[in-house]
């Protein structure tokens, strides 16, 4: 057993922490208010290799692994959660499937630009009537001989407004359920592809969430990602990694809530002493630290199993479930410690509270995670 981070992981951690603290944290409140992120931040991240952490150097990536990716995402989320969502999506949901299932041509075409932060991606799976039950998706892909024609509407697409490269799932064959679904790579500007309604959200406001409308969208034949009809398998394999990323994001938000609450508790005086001296505060902080530490061990372990090339569906769901519920819980405690000041926008915990909620919802709700975990244990299919 070895619980310490390796020397290189520690260097990754200190580097990203320094970048996030000096470059991102000072912008966080304004990003939340304006609902956008400065695009140059992605170039800075790309320069450091953080937009394609586990993509090999030969394709322009960071050449590291899933554990490193957790470290990176946690540190970014500690400073500002919305940008960490963009980083997580680009790494886990866009770079990964292209790297794992793409042709050599597709890898050369897309990975370098995505990993360097010169292009950014999004993931289009959810539809108005296919959320947790993703296999019921209705977007169609018709084989028109020398090209594909896609029709349908995708919703809740993180980073959809800014994305240059879109991973799109559509039904290419008549079979119902999870069979007959294929994955495609679309690009901004493809004919028939448009950004639809842009959502106003509770949290992670600096990242966009929108509809992607496909209306007779023509894609060249070589945009099929992986085998025809294997799209659902690609979606699930991709989400295993994505969930580890969201677990790391949740840990970053939980840590932000705890660290801010610790600092405040030492400064805020009531009844003639800092509120940190009251046991009611101490126990909240002790419980936050305990849950965060447990969540981090679960998350690192899921990532480590992934790095060993072993199946990690259950571990990823366990980590995502626990870490996201820890984020929401820790943010709630932090608001409570701040009292009235926790409910107003002048202090950061109000933002952490709003940002935390999404981690219990996207890339599989807590209910879906419990379903996945139970299914792995009970061996049932529904």
């Amino acid at each position: 057993m070895e619980f310490d981070l390796s020397e290189e992981h520690r260097l990754v951690q200190s580097t990203v922490r320094e970048w996030a603290t000096s470059r991102l944290l000072p912008l966080a409140a304004e990003m939340d208010r304006s609902g956008r992120y400065p695009p140059e931040l992605l170039l800075e991240l790309g320069e450091m290799g953080l937009m394609g952490v586990f993509i090999p150097e030969a394709y322009g990536g960071g050449g590291m692994n899933a554990v490193s990716c957790c470290i990176v995402i946690e540190e970014i989320a500690r400073a500002e959660a919305a940008l960490s969502a963009v980083v997580s999506v680009n790494n886990s949901l866009v770079c990964y499937p292209i790297f794992a299932f793409g042709t050599e041509h597709q890898k050369r075409m897309y990975l370098r630009e995505l990993a360097r932060g010169r292009k950014v991606g999004c993931y289009c799976l959810t539809e108005p009537t296919a959320g947790s039950d993703a296999a019921s998706l209705r977007t169609t892909a018709r084989d028109a001989g020398d090209h594909w024609v896609l029709n349908g509407t995708k919703i809740f697409v993180t980073n959809g407004v800014e994305a240059d490269v879109l991973i799109v799932y559509a039904r290419s064959d008549a079979e119902s359920g999870s069979g007959g679904i294929s994955a495609f790579i679309a690009e901004r500007g493809d004919p028939g592809l448009a950004v639809g309604k842009v959502e106003h959200k509770l949290g992670i406001r600096a990242s966009s969430t929108c509809e992607i409308v496909l209306e007779d969208c023509r894609l060249p034949k070589d945009r099929l990602l992986g085998e025809r009809g294997k799209g659902f398998h690609i979606a699930l394999a991709t989400l295993d990694g994505g969930r580890i990323g969201i677990a790391a994001q949740a840990l970053g938000i939980a840590r932000a809530a705890m660290e801010d609450a610790v600092a405040y508790a030492k400064e805020r005086r009531q009844f003639g002493r800092p509120i940190a001296e009251f046991q009611a505060t101490q126990w909240k902080i002790a419980d936050m630290a305990t849950r965060i530490q447990a969540g981090r061990l679960l998350t690192y372990r899921a990532a480590w199993i992934r790095d060993q090339g072993r199946r990690h569906t259950k571990e990823a769901s366990v980590a995502k479930l626990f870490a996201s519920e820890t984020a929401m819980w820790a943010a709630t405690q932090a608001v409570q410690i701040y009292g009235g000041y926790g409910y107003i926008q002048d202090y950061p915990v109000e933002r952490h509270f709003r940002d935390a909620k999404i981690t219990e919802i996207y890339e599989g709700t807590s209910e879906v995670q419990r379903m996945v975990i139970a299914r792995q244990l009970l061996g049932t299919s529904t």
């Binding site: 020397e7 290189e8 260097l11 990754v12 200190s14 580097t15 320094e18 970048w19 320069e47 450091m48 290799g49 953080l50 952490v53 150097e57 990536g61 960071g62 050449g63 590291m64 490193s68």
Partner: protein, 261 residues
């Protein structure tokens, strides 16, 4: 141009410092260490020179085994090679001893330019760079804010009281840099992986042909007698009453108690 950069692994300036029980040093266990800020700027300057003119960048440090982290960070930023002078005999060495060890390592390596940070944030002494130049027999320019190289010479800008002093030194030279000279890059992930693969050349005093009397702790000509924490900051005082009275009282306090007027 082959550039050597001297670096030091120092306690994180944001970490709370505790004085050791014997009062002769600081408690290092559990204390987070970092690459000295000024040295990050020195590495950056060397990398920019390499990018303009080609050549290599070598980082060198004198320190315990943990100091290898400072070298790894230098390589992760883009340096090509690293030398670690590590010898138990150097425990307790003073600034001159460290400078002598660095000089021997640099002389053995050979280079066109040596860059150091202006100071290290732990000791604030600004001695090693200038002493190193003396031991190497190189000209020097300290606290440099802008550096230009041409025809075997370096033009160095230094900020002096109310003016900029411009010096020209013949290469090879030792330059110590201010933080305003550049904005250091962050290490990249591929850089960090390269740092992991890059072998650090470890040298003892014996390897460098130095005796204990020349550079070791026994040769130290300065001795630390003790460390004391800075005086506790006293709570501020709030004056009360009519503004006219408060101003009078404030002026009196500034003159008589604070003695700043």
């Amino acid at each position: 141009m082959n550039v050597v950069v001297c670096v030091k692994y120092v306690p994180d300036t944001e970490a709370p410092i505790r004085i050791r029980a014997d009062g002769r040093g600081i408690e290092e266990s559990g204390l987070p260490f970092k690459l000295n800020y000024y040295d990050e700027h020195a590495v950056e300057e060397a990398l920019r020179i390499k990018e303009r003119t080609g050549g290599t960048v070598t980082v060198v440090t004198v320190g315990p085994s943990t100091a290898a982290q400072a070298l790894r960070q230098g390589v992760a930023m883009g340096a090509d090679a690293a030398i670690h002078v590590e010898d138990p005999a150097l425990d307790g060495a003073d600034h001159l001893g460290v400078a002598r060890a660095l000089a021997a390592a640099i002389a053995a390596q050979g280079c066109d330019l040596v860059i150091c940070g202006k100071l290290s944030t732990d000791d604030n002494a600004s001695v090693v760079g200038p002493a190193l130049a003396e031991f190497l027999g190189f000209p020097q320019a300290t606290a440099v804010t802008k550096l230009e190289l041409s025809d075997g010479k370096a033009t160095a800008h230094r900020e002096v009281e109310g003016a900029v002093e411009i010096l020209q030194v013949v290469l090879p030279a030792v330059i110590t840099v201010e933080r305003s000279i550049n904005e250091p890059r962050y290490p990249s992930l591929p850089g960090i992986m390269r740092a992991k693969r890059t072998a650090i050349a470890v040298k003892t005093l014996g390897d460098l042909g130095l005796t204990l009397e020349e550079a070791g702790g026994v040769a130290a000509r300065t001795e630390v007698l003790g460390y004391a924490p800075p005086p506790r900051r006293q709570a501020g005082r709030i004056l009360e009453g009519e503004p006219v009275e408060m101003v009078k009282e404030l002026v009196r306090l500034l003159r008589e108690e604070a003695k700043v007027l």
